[in-house]
Amino acid sequence: MPSIALGELIQIFRNRLVLVTMLVLPAASSAFYIYLNQQFTIVDLGGVAAILVFLVVAMGLYATTVTTLASRRQNLFLKRLRSTALGDAGILTGLLLPVTGITLAQVAVILTVLGVVAGGPANVLLLAVAVLSTVAMMLGLGLATAGLTNSPEHAQVTTLPIMIGTLALSGWVGFTGTEELTLFKRLLPGGSATELLVNAWNGGTPVMDSLVLLVPTLGWVVVAVALAARIFRWEPRR
Protein backbone atom coordinates (compact mmCIF):
# COMPACT_ATOMS: atom_id res chain seq x y z
CA MET A 1 0.00 0.00 0.00
CA PRO A 2 2.70 2.57 0.78
CA SER A 3 4.39 1.60 -2.48
CA ILE A 4 1.18 2.30 -4.44
CA ALA A 5 0.86 5.64 -2.66
CA LEU A 6 4.44 6.49 -3.55
CA GLY A 7 3.81 5.51 -7.18
CA GLU A 8 0.73 7.75 -7.27
CA LEU A 9 2.64 10.63 -5.78
CA ILE A 10 5.32 10.28 -8.47
CA GLN A 11 2.64 10.23 -11.15
CA ILE A 12 0.84 13.28 -9.76
CA PHE A 13 4.00 15.31 -9.96
CA ARG A 14 4.85 14.00 -13.45
CA ASN A 15 1.44 14.71 -14.90
CA ARG A 16 0.97 18.43 -15.30
CA LEU A 17 -2.76 18.24 -15.99
CA VAL A 18 -3.44 16.44 -12.72
CA LEU A 19 -1.18 18.81 -10.86
CA VAL A 20 -3.02 21.83 -12.25
CA THR A 21 -6.52 20.45 -11.54
CA MET A 22 -5.56 19.33 -8.10
CA LEU A 23 -3.31 22.05 -6.77
CA VAL A 24 -3.37 25.21 -8.81
CA LEU A 25 -7.08 25.51 -9.57
CA PRO A 26 -8.39 25.26 -6.00
CA ALA A 27 -5.48 27.31 -4.60
CA ALA A 28 -5.91 30.08 -7.17
CA SER A 29 -9.67 30.29 -6.69
CA SER A 30 -9.21 30.31 -2.92
CA ALA A 31 -6.68 33.13 -3.11
CA PHE A 32 -9.00 35.09 -5.37
CA TYR A 33 -11.92 34.46 -3.04
CA ILE A 34 -10.01 35.56 0.06
CA TYR A 35 -8.88 38.68 -1.79
CA LEU A 36 -12.44 39.43 -2.93
CA ASN A 37 -13.80 38.97 0.53
CA GLN A 38 -11.19 41.32 1.94
CA GLN A 39 -12.28 44.03 -0.50
CA PHE A 40 -16.00 43.74 0.07
CA THR A 41 -17.19 41.64 2.99
CA ILE A 42 -19.82 39.44 1.36
CA VAL A 43 -20.26 36.70 3.94
CA ASP A 44 -19.09 36.18 7.47
CA LEU A 45 -15.76 34.41 7.90
CA GLY A 46 -17.29 31.00 8.67
CA GLY A 47 -19.07 31.11 5.33
CA VAL A 48 -15.83 32.00 3.57
CA ALA A 49 -14.01 29.14 5.30
CA ALA A 50 -16.71 26.64 4.32
CA ILE A 51 -16.70 27.78 0.69
CA LEU A 52 -12.90 27.56 0.57
CA VAL A 53 -12.97 24.01 1.97
CA PHE A 54 -15.49 22.99 -0.65
CA LEU A 55 -13.49 24.61 -3.44
CA VAL A 56 -10.59 22.35 -2.53
CA VAL A 57 -12.47 19.12 -1.82
CA ALA A 58 -14.86 19.37 -4.77
CA MET A 59 -12.52 20.71 -7.44
CA GLY A 60 -9.38 19.04 -6.13
CA LEU A 61 -10.12 15.87 -4.20
CA TYR A 62 -13.40 14.75 -5.74
CA ALA A 63 -12.54 15.43 -9.38
CA THR A 64 -9.07 13.96 -9.04
CA THR A 65 -10.37 10.83 -7.29
CA VAL A 66 -12.82 10.10 -10.11
CA THR A 67 -10.30 10.90 -12.86
CA THR A 68 -7.54 8.84 -11.25
CA LEU A 69 -9.69 5.76 -10.72
CA ALA A 70 -11.15 5.93 -14.24
CA SER A 71 -7.71 6.33 -15.75
CA ARG A 72 -6.14 3.50 -13.72
CA ARG A 73 -9.02 1.27 -14.69
CA GLN A 74 -8.85 2.20 -18.37
CA ASN A 75 -5.17 1.34 -18.75
CA LEU A 76 -5.70 -1.87 -16.74
CA PHE A 77 -3.49 -0.71 -13.89
CA LEU A 78 -6.26 -1.67 -11.43
CA LYS A 79 -6.29 -5.20 -12.86
CA ARG A 80 -2.51 -5.30 -12.58
CA LEU A 81 -2.68 -4.27 -8.91
CA ARG A 82 -5.30 -6.96 -8.36
CA SER A 83 -2.81 -9.49 -9.74
CA THR A 84 -0.69 -8.96 -6.65
CA ALA A 85 -1.16 -10.07 -3.05
CA LEU A 86 -2.79 -6.79 -2.02
CA GLY A 87 -6.54 -6.68 -1.21
CA ASP A 88 -9.05 -4.30 -2.78
CA ALA A 89 -9.26 -2.00 0.24
CA GLY A 90 -5.46 -1.74 0.31
CA ILE A 91 -5.36 -0.91 -3.41
CA LEU A 92 -7.94 1.88 -3.10
CA THR A 93 -6.30 3.25 0.03
CA GLY A 94 -2.92 3.31 -1.68
CA LEU A 95 -4.33 5.02 -4.77
CA LEU A 96 -6.26 7.68 -2.85
CA LEU A 97 -3.89 8.34 0.02
CA PRO A 98 -1.68 10.89 -1.78
CA VAL A 99 -4.53 12.97 -3.18
CA THR A 100 -6.24 12.91 0.23
CA GLY A 101 -3.05 13.93 1.99
CA ILE A 102 -2.44 16.75 -0.47
CA THR A 103 -6.04 17.93 -0.06
CA LEU A 104 -5.78 18.01 3.71
CA ALA A 105 -2.50 19.91 3.51
CA GLN A 106 -4.03 22.33 1.05
CA VAL A 107 -7.07 22.94 3.25
CA ALA A 108 -4.77 23.47 6.23
CA VAL A 109 -2.68 26.03 4.34
CA ILE A 110 -5.65 27.93 2.92
CA LEU A 111 -7.51 28.06 6.24
CA THR A 112 -4.33 29.15 8.01
CA VAL A 113 -3.93 31.96 5.49
CA LEU A 114 -7.57 32.95 6.05
CA GLY A 115 -7.04 32.82 9.80
CA VAL A 116 -3.93 34.99 9.64
CA VAL A 117 -5.48 37.49 7.24
CA ALA A 118 -8.93 37.76 8.79
CA GLY A 119 -8.96 36.08 12.21
CA GLY A 120 -8.86 32.44 13.32
CA PRO A 121 -11.55 29.84 13.99
CA ALA A 122 -13.45 29.58 17.27
CA ASN A 123 -13.13 25.80 17.63
CA VAL A 124 -10.15 24.26 15.84
CA LEU A 125 -10.98 20.71 16.90
CA LEU A 126 -14.53 20.94 15.61
CA LEU A 127 -13.19 22.51 12.43
CA ALA A 128 -10.87 19.54 11.96
CA VAL A 129 -13.76 17.12 12.49
CA ALA A 130 -15.84 19.08 9.99
CA VAL A 131 -13.07 19.02 7.37
CA LEU A 132 -12.38 15.30 7.86
CA SER A 133 -16.05 14.36 7.55
CA THR A 134 -16.34 16.47 4.40
CA VAL A 135 -13.27 14.80 2.93
CA ALA A 136 -14.69 11.35 3.78
CA MET A 137 -17.97 12.23 2.09
CA MET A 138 -16.29 13.49 -1.09
CA LEU A 139 -14.06 10.39 -1.23
CA GLY A 140 -17.14 8.18 -0.97
CA LEU A 141 -18.95 10.16 -3.65
CA GLY A 142 -15.80 9.99 -5.78
CA LEU A 143 -15.72 6.18 -5.52
CA ALA A 144 -19.37 5.96 -6.48
CA THR A 145 -18.96 8.38 -9.39
CA ALA A 146 -15.93 6.42 -10.63
CA GLY A 147 -18.24 3.42 -10.99
CA LEU A 148 -20.25 5.38 -13.55
CA THR A 149 -17.21 6.79 -15.34
CA ASN A 150 -15.68 4.95 -18.28
CA SER A 151 -12.59 7.05 -18.94
CA PRO A 152 -10.70 10.06 -17.60
CA GLU A 153 -12.28 12.17 -20.38
CA HIS A 154 -15.71 10.93 -19.36
CA ALA A 155 -14.92 12.07 -15.80
CA GLN A 156 -15.13 15.69 -16.97
CA VAL A 157 -18.84 15.08 -17.51
CA THR A 158 -19.69 12.65 -14.73
CA THR A 159 -18.11 14.76 -12.00
CA LEU A 160 -20.04 17.91 -12.94
CA PRO A 161 -23.35 17.28 -11.08
CA ILE A 162 -21.76 16.58 -7.70
CA MET A 163 -18.89 19.05 -8.11
CA ILE A 164 -21.15 21.95 -9.12
CA GLY A 165 -23.91 20.74 -6.81
CA THR A 166 -21.82 20.65 -3.64
CA LEU A 167 -20.04 23.90 -4.52
CA ALA A 168 -23.38 25.66 -5.12
CA LEU A 169 -24.87 24.20 -1.96
CA SER A 170 -21.91 25.26 0.17
CA GLY A 171 -22.23 28.75 -1.31
CA TRP A 172 -25.96 28.80 -0.73
CA VAL A 173 -25.67 27.62 2.88
CA GLY A 174 -22.59 29.79 3.42
CA PHE A 175 -24.40 32.90 2.22
CA THR A 176 -27.90 32.33 3.54
CA GLY A 177 -27.47 29.96 6.49
CA THR A 178 -30.05 27.31 7.29
CA GLU A 179 -32.77 29.41 8.88
CA GLU A 180 -35.07 28.67 5.99
CA LEU A 181 -35.48 25.32 4.20
CA THR A 182 -33.46 23.90 7.09
CA LEU A 183 -34.08 20.20 6.55
CA PHE A 184 -33.70 20.44 2.78
CA LYS A 185 -30.38 22.26 2.99
CA ARG A 186 -29.03 19.98 5.68
CA LEU A 187 -29.93 16.74 3.98
CA LEU A 188 -28.39 17.50 0.60
CA PRO A 189 -24.75 16.35 0.31
CA GLY A 190 -22.55 19.09 1.69
CA GLY A 191 -25.31 21.17 3.31
CA SER A 192 -24.83 20.11 6.89
CA ALA A 193 -21.07 19.87 6.34
CA THR A 194 -21.04 23.53 5.34
CA GLU A 195 -23.10 24.50 8.37
CA LEU A 196 -20.75 22.56 10.61
CA LEU A 197 -17.74 24.35 9.11
CA VAL A 198 -19.45 27.73 9.59
CA ASN A 199 -20.30 26.91 13.23
CA ALA A 200 -16.79 25.69 13.97
CA TRP A 201 -15.24 28.85 12.55
CA ASN A 202 -17.70 31.41 13.94
CA GLY A 203 -18.45 29.73 17.28
CA GLY A 204 -21.54 30.64 19.29
CA THR A 205 -23.37 27.36 18.65
CA PRO A 206 -23.36 24.65 21.35
CA VAL A 207 -20.95 21.88 20.32
CA MET A 208 -23.59 19.18 20.74
CA ASP A 209 -25.94 21.00 18.35
CA SER A 210 -23.10 21.16 15.85
CA LEU A 211 -22.17 17.51 16.21
CA VAL A 212 -25.68 16.49 15.15
CA LEU A 213 -24.79 18.03 11.81
CA LEU A 214 -22.29 15.20 11.31
CA VAL A 215 -25.13 12.72 10.92
CA PRO A 216 -26.23 13.69 7.37
CA THR A 217 -22.61 13.95 6.20
CA LEU A 218 -21.71 10.52 7.56
CA GLY A 219 -25.01 9.24 6.16
CA TRP A 220 -23.83 10.34 2.73
CA VAL A 221 -20.55 8.50 3.30
CA VAL A 222 -22.49 5.31 4.00
CA VAL A 223 -24.79 5.80 0.99
CA ALA A 224 -21.86 6.60 -1.30
CA VAL A 225 -19.76 3.65 -0.17
CA ALA A 226 -22.73 1.26 -0.44
CA LEU A 227 -23.39 2.59 -3.94
CA ALA A 228 -19.71 2.29 -4.85
CA ALA A 229 -19.63 -1.31 -3.61
CA ARG A 230 -22.41 -2.11 -6.08
CA ILE A 231 -21.28 -0.17 -9.14
CA PHE A 232 -17.51 0.14 -8.87
CA ARG A 233 -15.75 -1.79 -11.63
CA TRP A 234 -12.13 -2.90 -11.60
CA GLU A 235 -11.83 -3.64 -15.29
CA PRO A 236 -13.01 -1.75 -18.36
CA ARG A 237 -16.23 -2.88 -19.94
CA ARG A 238 -15.55 -5.22 -22.85
Binding site: I4, Q11, S83
Partner: protein, 298 residues
Protein backbone atom coordinates in the same frame (compact mmCIF):
# COMPACT_ATOMS: atom_id res chain seq x y z
CA UNK B 1 6.02 -35.62 -0.96
CA UNK B 2 2.73 -33.84 -1.36
CA UNK B 3 0.59 -35.02 -4.24
CA UNK B 4 -1.86 -32.12 -4.00
CA UNK B 5 -2.16 -30.59 -7.46
CA UNK B 6 -1.06 -26.97 -7.78
CA UNK B 7 -4.26 -26.22 -9.67
CA UNK B 8 -7.48 -28.15 -9.21
CA UNK B 9 -10.50 -27.10 -11.27
CA UNK B 10 -13.74 -28.96 -10.81
CA UNK B 11 -16.88 -28.51 -12.91
CA UNK B 12 -16.10 -24.87 -13.59
CA UNK B 13 -18.87 -22.86 -15.23
CA UNK B 14 -18.61 -19.26 -16.34
CA UNK B 15 -21.56 -17.44 -17.83
CA UNK B 16 -21.98 -13.85 -18.96
CA UNK B 17 -25.68 -13.19 -19.18
CA UNK B 18 -26.98 -15.69 -21.71
CA UNK B 19 -23.53 -16.63 -22.97
CA UNK B 20 -22.14 -19.77 -21.41
CA UNK B 21 -18.38 -19.26 -21.91
CA UNK B 22 -17.12 -22.27 -19.94
CA UNK B 23 -19.12 -25.44 -19.30
CA UNK B 24 -18.37 -28.01 -16.59
CA UNK B 25 -14.63 -27.84 -17.10
CA UNK B 26 -12.43 -29.99 -14.86
CA UNK B 27 -8.65 -30.32 -14.93
CA UNK B 28 -5.60 -30.45 -12.71
CA UNK B 29 -2.09 -29.16 -13.04
CA UNK B 30 0.59 -30.96 -11.06
CA UNK B 31 3.61 -29.46 -9.38
CA UNK B 32 6.40 -28.69 -11.83
CA UNK B 33 4.21 -29.32 -14.84
CA UNK B 34 4.05 -27.13 -17.96
CA UNK B 35 0.39 -26.96 -18.90
CA UNK B 36 -0.85 -25.21 -22.03
CA UNK B 37 -4.41 -24.05 -22.39
CA UNK B 38 -5.15 -23.72 -26.08
CA UNK B 39 -8.22 -22.99 -28.10
CA UNK B 40 -9.82 -21.14 -30.93
CA UNK B 41 -10.89 -17.53 -30.34
CA UNK B 42 -13.84 -17.43 -27.98
CA UNK B 43 -13.21 -21.01 -26.83
CA UNK B 44 -13.26 -19.85 -23.20
CA UNK B 45 -9.55 -20.14 -22.38
CA UNK B 46 -9.10 -16.55 -21.18
CA UNK B 47 -12.23 -16.85 -19.00
CA UNK B 48 -10.88 -20.10 -17.58
CA UNK B 49 -7.46 -18.61 -16.98
CA UNK B 50 -8.98 -15.58 -15.24
CA UNK B 51 -11.02 -17.81 -12.96
CA UNK B 52 -7.91 -19.81 -12.06
CA UNK B 53 -5.89 -16.63 -11.49
CA UNK B 54 -8.64 -15.37 -9.19
CA UNK B 55 -9.64 -12.43 -11.38
CA UNK B 56 -13.06 -13.85 -12.12
CA UNK B 57 -15.65 -15.41 -9.83
CA UNK B 58 -16.91 -18.76 -11.17
CA UNK B 59 -20.62 -18.95 -11.90
CA UNK B 60 -20.43 -22.44 -10.39
CA UNK B 61 -17.82 -25.09 -9.66
CA UNK B 62 -14.63 -24.85 -7.66
CA UNK B 63 -11.13 -23.66 -8.38
CA UNK B 64 -8.30 -24.43 -5.98
CA UNK B 65 -4.77 -23.12 -6.30
CA UNK B 66 -2.26 -24.59 -3.82
CA UNK B 67 -5.37 -26.02 -2.16
CA UNK B 68 -6.74 -22.52 -1.54
CA UNK B 69 -9.34 -20.26 -3.09
CA UNK B 70 -7.44 -18.21 -5.72
CA UNK B 71 -9.44 -15.14 -4.70
CA UNK B 72 -7.69 -15.26 -1.34
CA UNK B 73 -4.89 -13.08 -2.68
CA UNK B 74 -2.94 -12.88 0.54
CA UNK B 75 -2.58 -16.68 0.60
CA UNK B 76 -2.11 -17.47 -3.07
CA UNK B 77 -0.49 -14.51 -4.81
CA UNK B 78 2.87 -14.47 -2.99
CA UNK B 79 3.42 -17.88 -4.64
CA UNK B 80 1.98 -16.88 -8.02
CA UNK B 81 3.33 -14.75 -10.86
CA UNK B 82 0.86 -13.47 -13.41
CA UNK B 83 1.68 -12.17 -16.88
CA UNK B 84 -1.49 -10.57 -18.16
CA UNK B 85 -2.53 -10.53 -21.79
CA UNK B 86 -2.59 -6.75 -21.88
CA UNK B 87 -0.03 -4.63 -20.13
CA UNK B 88 -1.74 -2.48 -17.49
CA UNK B 89 1.21 -0.42 -16.37
CA UNK B 90 1.07 3.22 -15.46
CA UNK B 91 2.41 5.19 -18.46
CA UNK B 92 3.99 7.86 -16.25
CA UNK B 93 6.10 5.44 -14.20
CA UNK B 94 9.48 4.20 -15.39
CA UNK B 95 10.34 0.57 -16.03
CA UNK B 96 12.31 0.35 -12.79
CA UNK B 97 9.53 2.00 -10.76
CA UNK B 98 6.92 -0.34 -12.26
CA UNK B 99 8.88 -3.49 -11.45
CA UNK B 100 9.67 -2.25 -7.96
CA UNK B 101 6.02 -1.33 -7.30
CA UNK B 102 4.39 -4.52 -8.62
CA UNK B 103 7.25 -6.66 -7.33
CA UNK B 104 6.92 -5.37 -3.79
CA UNK B 105 3.15 -5.92 -3.86
CA UNK B 106 3.65 -9.62 -4.66
CA UNK B 107 5.25 -9.94 -1.19
CA UNK B 108 8.18 -11.81 -2.75
CA UNK B 109 11.73 -10.59 -2.48
CA UNK B 110 14.02 -10.05 -5.43
CA UNK B 111 16.29 -7.46 -6.96
CA UNK B 112 14.80 -5.18 -9.60
CA UNK B 113 18.11 -5.19 -11.49
CA UNK B 114 18.22 -8.99 -11.63
CA UNK B 115 14.72 -9.21 -13.09
CA UNK B 116 15.37 -6.43 -15.61
CA UNK B 117 18.51 -8.25 -16.68
CA UNK B 118 16.54 -11.46 -17.32
CA UNK B 119 14.21 -9.67 -19.74
CA UNK B 120 16.90 -7.46 -21.26
CA UNK B 121 15.40 -4.17 -20.10
CA UNK B 122 18.37 -2.98 -18.04
CA UNK B 123 19.10 -0.14 -20.45
CA UNK B 124 15.44 0.90 -20.39
CA UNK B 125 15.23 0.99 -16.57
CA UNK B 126 14.81 4.76 -16.50
CA UNK B 127 12.43 4.94 -19.46
CA UNK B 128 8.77 5.73 -18.92
CA UNK B 129 6.37 2.91 -19.75
CA UNK B 130 4.59 5.19 -22.23
CA UNK B 131 7.77 5.22 -24.34
CA UNK B 132 8.19 1.43 -24.55
CA UNK B 133 7.40 -0.59 -27.67
CA UNK B 134 4.77 -3.32 -27.56
CA UNK B 135 7.41 -6.02 -27.24
CA UNK B 136 9.18 -4.16 -24.45
CA UNK B 137 5.90 -3.89 -22.55
CA UNK B 138 5.46 -7.66 -22.85
CA UNK B 139 8.95 -8.12 -21.42
CA UNK B 140 8.17 -5.74 -18.56
CA UNK B 141 5.05 -7.79 -17.89
CA UNK B 142 7.12 -10.98 -17.85
CA UNK B 143 9.60 -9.32 -15.49
CA UNK B 144 6.87 -8.63 -12.91
CA UNK B 145 5.54 -12.18 -13.28
CA UNK B 146 8.90 -13.81 -12.55
CA UNK B 147 9.88 -11.35 -9.80
CA UNK B 148 10.98 -13.46 -6.85
CA UNK B 149 10.82 -16.71 -8.89
CA UNK B 150 7.28 -17.79 -7.87
CA UNK B 151 6.20 -21.44 -7.66
CA UNK B 152 3.37 -20.94 -10.16
CA UNK B 153 3.51 -18.69 -13.22
CA UNK B 154 0.65 -17.80 -15.55
CA UNK B 155 1.72 -16.72 -19.03
CA UNK B 156 -1.16 -15.34 -21.09
CA UNK B 157 0.07 -15.15 -24.68
CA UNK B 158 3.55 -14.18 -23.50
CA UNK B 159 5.35 -14.01 -26.84
CA UNK B 160 2.84 -11.98 -28.83
CA UNK B 161 4.70 -9.00 -30.28
CA UNK B 162 8.17 -10.33 -29.37
CA UNK B 163 10.91 -10.75 -31.96
CA UNK B 164 12.63 -14.12 -32.27
CA UNK B 165 15.56 -13.20 -30.02
CA UNK B 166 13.27 -11.92 -27.27
CA UNK B 167 11.12 -15.02 -27.64
CA UNK B 168 14.12 -17.32 -27.21
CA UNK B 169 15.28 -15.32 -24.19
CA UNK B 170 11.85 -15.57 -22.61
CA UNK B 171 11.74 -19.35 -23.06
CA UNK B 172 15.28 -19.66 -21.69
CA UNK B 173 14.12 -17.81 -18.58
CA UNK B 174 11.08 -20.08 -18.32
CA UNK B 175 13.32 -23.15 -18.65
CA UNK B 176 15.48 -21.90 -15.76
CA UNK B 177 12.39 -21.39 -13.60
CA UNK B 178 11.24 -24.90 -14.44
CA UNK B 179 14.59 -26.32 -13.40
CA UNK B 180 13.94 -24.72 -10.02
CA UNK B 181 10.56 -26.44 -9.88
CA UNK B 182 8.14 -23.72 -11.02
CA UNK B 183 4.80 -24.77 -12.48
CA UNK B 184 3.85 -23.01 -15.73
CA UNK B 185 0.40 -22.39 -17.19
CA UNK B 186 0.46 -21.00 -20.72
CA UNK B 187 -2.00 -19.78 -23.29
CA UNK B 188 -0.65 -18.99 -26.72
CA UNK B 189 -1.53 -18.58 -30.37
CA UNK B 190 1.80 -20.04 -31.39
CA UNK B 191 1.03 -23.74 -31.38
CA UNK B 192 4.62 -24.82 -31.97
CA UNK B 193 5.54 -23.25 -28.61
CA UNK B 194 3.00 -25.43 -26.86
CA UNK B 195 3.96 -28.46 -28.92
CA UNK B 196 7.64 -28.07 -28.06
CA UNK B 197 7.32 -27.25 -24.39
CA UNK B 198 4.07 -28.33 -22.81
CA UNK B 199 3.87 -31.52 -20.77
CA UNK B 200 0.14 -31.49 -21.23
CA UNK B 201 -2.32 -29.52 -23.30
CA UNK B 202 -5.94 -28.70 -22.68
CA UNK B 203 -7.49 -27.97 -26.05
CA UNK B 204 -10.66 -25.94 -25.55
CA UNK B 205 -13.50 -25.51 -27.96
CA UNK B 206 -16.83 -23.82 -27.20
CA UNK B 207 -16.29 -23.86 -23.45
CA UNK B 208 -15.28 -27.50 -23.03
CA UNK B 209 -12.17 -29.60 -23.59
CA UNK B 210 -12.12 -30.88 -27.13
CA UNK B 211 -9.10 -32.94 -26.10
CA UNK B 212 -6.79 -33.01 -23.12
CA UNK B 213 -3.49 -34.83 -22.75
CA UNK B 214 0.15 -34.84 -23.79
CA UNK B 215 1.09 -33.65 -27.28
CA UNK B 216 1.55 -37.29 -28.32
CA UNK B 217 -1.88 -38.21 -27.02
CA UNK B 218 -3.45 -35.26 -28.80
CA UNK B 219 -1.88 -35.96 -32.17
CA UNK B 220 -2.06 -39.76 -31.99
CA UNK B 221 -5.68 -39.84 -33.05
CA UNK B 222 -4.91 -38.05 -36.29
CA UNK B 223 -2.97 -39.65 -39.16
CA UNK B 224 0.67 -38.75 -39.89
CA UNK B 225 1.46 -37.10 -43.20
CA UNK B 226 3.96 -37.54 -46.03
CA UNK B 227 4.39 -34.79 -48.62
CA UNK B 228 6.46 -34.79 -51.79
CA UNK B 229 6.44 -33.64 -55.37
CA UNK B 230 7.46 -35.55 -58.49
CA UNK B 231 9.30 -34.55 -61.65
CA UNK B 232 7.32 -34.76 -64.88
CA UNK B 233 6.96 -37.22 -66.40
CA UNK B 234 6.80 -39.71 -63.55
CA UNK B 235 4.94 -42.94 -62.96
CA UNK B 236 1.80 -42.92 -60.87
CA UNK B 237 2.83 -42.86 -57.21
CA UNK B 238 1.87 -45.77 -54.97
CA UNK B 239 -0.39 -45.75 -51.92
CA UNK B 240 -3.30 -43.37 -51.51
CA UNK B 241 -1.42 -40.25 -52.61
CA UNK B 242 -3.68 -37.26 -53.13
CA UNK B 243 -2.57 -34.56 -55.51
CA UNK B 244 -2.91 -31.14 -53.87
CA UNK B 245 -3.77 -27.97 -55.81
CA UNK B 246 -0.12 -26.84 -55.79
CA UNK B 247 0.96 -30.08 -57.50
CA UNK B 248 2.47 -31.73 -54.41
CA UNK B 249 1.31 -35.13 -53.23
CA UNK B 250 -0.06 -35.84 -49.77
CA UNK B 251 -0.32 -39.21 -48.10
CA UNK B 252 -2.18 -39.50 -44.81
CA UNK B 253 -1.27 -42.62 -42.92
CA UNK B 254 -1.88 -44.25 -39.54
CA UNK B 255 1.41 -46.14 -40.01
CA UNK B 256 4.06 -43.61 -40.98
CA UNK B 257 7.08 -45.92 -40.83
CA UNK B 258 5.62 -48.64 -43.04
CA UNK B 259 4.19 -46.32 -45.67
CA UNK B 260 7.26 -44.13 -45.82
CA UNK B 261 9.34 -47.23 -46.39
CA UNK B 262 7.01 -48.35 -49.16
CA UNK B 263 7.23 -44.95 -50.83
CA UNK B 264 11.02 -44.82 -50.64
CA UNK B 265 11.30 -48.32 -52.09
CA UNK B 266 8.96 -47.39 -54.92
CA UNK B 267 11.06 -44.33 -55.66
CA UNK B 268 14.23 -46.43 -55.61
CA UNK B 269 12.75 -49.10 -57.86
CA UNK B 270 11.48 -46.57 -60.40
CA UNK B 271 14.54 -44.31 -60.10
CA UNK B 272 12.25 -41.38 -59.27
CA UNK B 273 13.46 -38.40 -57.31
CA UNK B 274 11.10 -37.44 -54.50
CA UNK B 275 11.39 -33.68 -54.28
CA UNK B 276 10.62 -31.62 -51.16
CA UNK B 277 10.04 -34.81 -49.25
CA UNK B 278 8.66 -34.21 -45.78
CA UNK B 279 7.17 -36.69 -43.38
CA UNK B 280 6.09 -36.42 -39.77
CA UNK B 281 3.43 -36.86 -37.16
CA UNK B 282 0.41 -34.64 -37.19
CA UNK B 283 1.10 -31.22 -35.81
CA UNK B 284 -1.10 -29.34 -33.36
CA UNK B 285 -2.11 -27.07 -36.24
CA UNK B 286 -3.78 -30.05 -37.83
CA UNK B 287 -5.57 -30.88 -34.59
CA UNK B 288 -6.83 -27.32 -34.60
CA UNK B 289 -7.92 -27.55 -38.22
CA UNK B 290 -9.77 -30.74 -37.42
CA UNK B 291 -11.77 -28.84 -34.77
CA UNK B 292 -12.55 -26.19 -37.35
CA UNK B 293 -13.75 -28.77 -39.86
CA UNK B 294 -15.87 -30.48 -37.19
CA UNK B 295 -17.54 -27.19 -36.69
CA UNK B 296 -18.43 -26.70 -40.34
CA UNK B 297 -20.25 -30.02 -40.40
CA UNK B 298 -22.79 -28.68 -37.92
Amino acid sequence: MSSTPVIDVERLNLAYGDFHAVKDLSFQVRRGEFYALLGTNGAGKTSTLEAVEGHRLPTSGTVRVFGQNPRDRRAVRPRTGIMLQESGFSPDLTVRESVRLIGSLTRRTDKVERVLDIVGLTRKAGTKVSQLSGGEKRRLDFATAVYGAPELIFLDEPTTGLDIQARDDLWDAVDKLREDGSTIVLTTHYLEEAQQRADRIGLMHEGVFHKEGSVVELTRTLPATIRFSLPVPAPEPPLQAVRESDGTFLIETPDLQKDLHALLRWAQDHAVELRELAAGPTRLDDVFRSIGSDQTTF
